[in-house]
Amino acid sequence: MTKRQIKLTKPVLDFLHSLDGGQSGDVQIHAAVNETLGGYTPLTELNEVLELLDRNGWILTVGSRFKGSLRSLTDAGAAVRLEMR
């Protein structure tokens, strides 16, 4: 992971952790990342990180009822979040 990806990972995991086991769409995650880091994070960068987190098994991605996908934090993701503190 690059430094930038690590920087984006933390707010993503923090936001999903705040949902207490719930799911969220990418737009809400993106808004939370922007809020935490200040300024706008390009969509491609965020998508790359979300893909990476999903590949690592740190977040779980499922298709939403209509379109797009919903993400939630896995146990592994929760552990990584704690390691990042």
Partner: protein, 187 residues
């Protein structure tokens, strides 16, 4: 870094409440509606817990766990509803021709405005603050463009002379033009 971030959860078993939340997310809408009806029925809390144990094999040992789950459910339902609205917004914005980052920015602005209207002041005010900053930036840019255009017209003969001066390199011409328009750079 990824070697360091292992996400090792060996030996940890999720609580019954966590299992219930995870299971809930995998249920189809019909099953969820059936459970919602059960939660809203006249059944007592212990009776509902029994049902949950019998049908879902989730053993909630006290009523408080069920209460916590139902509070969580209210929040998750609100998020699901927000997701539906976001999907609708996205379809509308795509129809207007927005794509990529422009589409995402517009969507984020919409959810933040909605949050503000729904009383989520923290998220909403951040959106208002950002929108105001963008307006100020836009005004600053407009003013700069206007000033630059005015300066160009006033210094047109000088700029023409600089542009036609073959003794200067490209970099020197740019520097001379900048000096003519805006004066020396701040120290």
């Amino acid at each position: 870094m990824s070697a360091k971030l292992r996400g090792d959860t060996a030996g940890k078993t999720p609580s019954e409440l966590t299992r219930f939340k995870r299971l809930w997310l995998t249920l189809d809408e019909a099953a969820r509606d059936s459970w919602r009806a059960c939660f809203a029925s006249e059944l007592t809390q212990p009776r509902i817990r029994e049902e949950v144990k019998r049908k879902l094999r989730i053993n909630l040992v006290d009523d408080k766990q069920l209460t916590v789950f139902r509070q969580w459910l209210v929040k998750q339902d609100a998020r699901d509803e927000e997701q539906q609205l976001t999907d609708q917004d996205e379809a509308e914005l795509i129809a207007q021709g927005l794509t990529g980052d422009a589409l995402r920015k517009a969507l984020i602005e919409k959810i933040q405005r909605r949050a503000y209207l729904q009383g989520d002041a923290k998220t909403g005010l951040a959106a208002v603050d950002r929108a105001q900053r963008e307006v100020v930036t836009e005004l600053d840019r407009n003013k700069f463009e206007f000033d630059a255009a005015k300066a160009c017209l006033a210094k047109l003969p000088e700029l023409k002379a600089i542009a036609s001066n073959k003794q200067l390199s490209e970099d020197e011409r740019l520097e001379q033009a900048r000096l003519a328009l805006f004066g020396s750079a701040p120290q």
